[in-house]
């Protein structure tokens, strides 16, 4: 399903490459690409394949945004000059995206209104991601030392582990979805995992 056909190579998903993942910015930038890949997959599939791809997209977005809110934004707020304002702008973008995401989450992916709303979300998410890369990540790289970047990467990885975004053909049933839980519960679980990884602060 996530095979790309021609090359026969699977589209990479968060964490499933052999990268050292010792730099939170590199890791989050790759996740931005993973999110974009999943949007592609939702758009180009239909029926159960689309439902499955959308579930994975929702999970990755939830995990990614929660991890950013818990790990990256607090760091930027504390350590970057003007960080308060930069983060406030990012949070507002995230809030809007989450609203759209929640609306989509309650819709059937076959609903005629689904795809137009998904495209709106995609545009917002993409703008948000680039804004982070340009106005927030750049400053984090300048301010954080290698140990700090690695510690933040570890926390993001812990978030990822709470909701795997890999496709599990055959297992991707109602039961698996139920286990992942609704959006809000997933975000809570992710938040707990991140805080634990960050040393319980």
């Amino acid at each position: 399903m996530s095979d790309t056909g021609a090359g026969g190579t699977r589209t990479p998903h968060a964490g499933d490459d052999a990268a050292a993942d010792d730099n939170v910015v590199d890791l989050l930038m790759r996740q931005h690409g993973d999110i974009r890949n999943l949007f592609d997959e939702v758009e180009t599939t239909s029926g159960d394949a689309r439902r499955d791809a959308f579930r994975r997209l929702v999970r990755l977005l939830a995990v990614h945004e929660t991890a950013e809110e818990e790990v990256v934004h607090p760091f930027a707020r504390r350590n970057v000059t003007g960080g308060e304002q930069v983060v406030a702008e990012r949070l507002e973008e995230e809030r809007l995206a989450k609203e759209t995401l929640a609306e989509l989450d309650g819709m059937d992916p076959e609903d005629p209104g689904f795809l137009p709303k998904l495209l709106l979300l995609r545009t917002d998410v993409q703008k948000h991601a680039r804004a982070e890369e340009r106005y927030e990540f750049t400053h984090i790289l300048r301010t954080a030392d290698p140990a700090g970047l690695a510690a933040m990467a570890k926390a993001v990885k812990a978030a990822e582990a709470t909701a795997p975004t890999h496709p599990h053909p055959g297992v991707e049933s109602g039961a698996a979805n139920l286990a992942a839980g609704p959006l809000a519960a997933l975000m809570d679980r992710t938040r707990d995992a991140v805080r634990k990884a960050m040393g319980g602060s």
């Binding site: 021609a6 990479p12 490459d17 990268a19 930038m29 690409g33 890949n37």
Partner: protein, 399 residues
């Protein structure tokens, strides 16, 4: 459709200025647009940048203040055209995404020009060059997946294949071997002049782009790869600009530039799938027709010649963005191991080539090799997009 720009009138020059609202164009969609629309945007940006730079050079050699003012008037409009064209690119695209689109332009535009070029010596120059841009696309595509976890096929679609061409490490030649022989302006097909000007302009823009965006990357491998390929783009500009007859007068060159802009805007208007972009091509064509008339008047006045003597009687068939997969595979099978010697081509690594290679590589694998190694370490494979089967050269197939 037969179209002779010399017989058409466009928008009068004093009515071509656009206000901020008119300059504020809506960019193309980075995820759902036609990849060849983006290729046309990148091509026309390169053409407009060359128009501006050429006009500045001409003005610096021009002692007559009235002519300088005339050039400034047209150039200001051309600067607005460049702003509109290049601002069609979306701000959410990353530099690397745009880079891959630049290489798609270099591959499919140069391949098309090579296919259509009537002069065998010039054709060989394009065939030689395209296998290098083809390899650059493959190297950047591997970098793109490493940094952004995205596959280049999300940018080039299935229109252009991505696999090794002539390996980038072999593009570093002694500078004297990059200089070609020019066509003869009195005998060459007018189409050949347009081809040379077009490819020279797009390669020049690619050179300018890489030399400026390369250092904005933080990843060491990205910085180094842009440096290496940026240097090769300089070789390509040397290669293609030397094809143009230096005996053309400044005014003749100006007329050729304006004529080529008419040709390309007309070509792209004919094939554009995006209606908003098509409207830009149409508007700009109508502006260029007038720029051409201004240039023709200058040529008549200063050279005492008629522009018809140097131009085609009508526009050649439209320059087209389309897949060139079979043609490129034929070149991959037959011309991978070529290098240049003087103004010609040889299959052997000659002494001058070896000497430069040794000096520039300093006994290490260059960034273009490292990027593939690092990608393999990260994913256990390389990134390729081989839609028509395995690589035509058995030595380049994946083990």
């Amino acid at each position: 459709m037969s179209f002779n720009p010399l017989e058409q009138r466009g928008i009068p020059l004093d009515r071509q200025l656009r206000n901020w609202r008119e300059l504020d164009v809506e960019p193309v969609d980075p995820d759902h647009g036609d990849p060849y629309t983006r290729c046309r945007v990148i091509t026309m940006n390169g053409i407009e940048v060359e128009a501006i730079l050429f006009s500045h050079q001409l003005a610096r050699h021009c002692p007559d203040p009235e002519v300088k003012r005339q050039l400034a008037r047209t150039r200001y409009i051309e600067a607005q055209q460049q702003k509109v064209v290049n601002w069609l690119l979306p701000g959410v695209a990353s530099v690397l995404e745009t880079t891959i689109a630049y290489e798609q332009v270099a591959v499919d535009l140069t391949a098309w020009v090579a296919r259509m070029e009537p002069d065998p010596y010039l054709q060989q120059a394009y065939q030689f060059g395209v296998l290098e841009d083809f390899d650059h696309l493959y190297r950047y595509a591997n970098l793109y997946e490493m940094i952004e976890h995205r596959k280049a096929e999300a940018i080039v679609d299935q229109l252009t294949e991505v696999m090794p061409g002539r390996p980038t490490k072999y593009h570093h030649r002694d500078p004297v071997d990059n200089v070609r022989d020019p066509y003869d302006r009195t005998r060459t097909d007018p189409l050949s002049k347009l081809h040379a000007l077009t490819i020279m302009s797009t390669e020049q823009q690619t050179m300018n782009f890489y030399m400026n965006v390369g250092p904005t990357y933080m990843e060491p491998i990205a910085r180094r790869l842009y440096q290496e390929i940026g240097l090769i783009e300089e070789e390509h500009v040397t290669h293609y600009e030397s094809l143009v007859d230096p005996g053309e007068t400044w005014w003749e060159q100006l007329v050729n530039h304006e004529y080529n802009e008419c040709y390309l805007y007309h070509s792209f208007m004919e094939q554009e799938s995006d209606p908003k972009v098509k409207a830009v091509w149409e508007l700009h064509l109508n502006m260029e027709l007038e720029h051409l008339h201004v240039a023709c008047d200058l040529m008549r006045r200063h050279d005492g010649r008629e522009p018809e003597e140097v131009l085609a009687p009508e526009l050649p068939p439209v320059m087209t963005f389309e897949p060139n997969k079979a043609y490129l595979r034929e070149l991959l099978a037959t011309q991978m191991d070529l290098t240049t010697l003087g103004a010609g081509y040889v299959r052997d690594a000659h002494e001058r080539f070896e000497k430069l290679q040794e000096a520039i590589h300093g006994g290490e694998a260059p960034p273009s090799e490292q990027v593939i190694d690092e990608h393999r370490e990260m994913f256990g494979r390389e990134y390729r997009l081989e839609t028509e089967g395995e690589h035509p050269d058995p030595a380049m197939r994946q083990g």
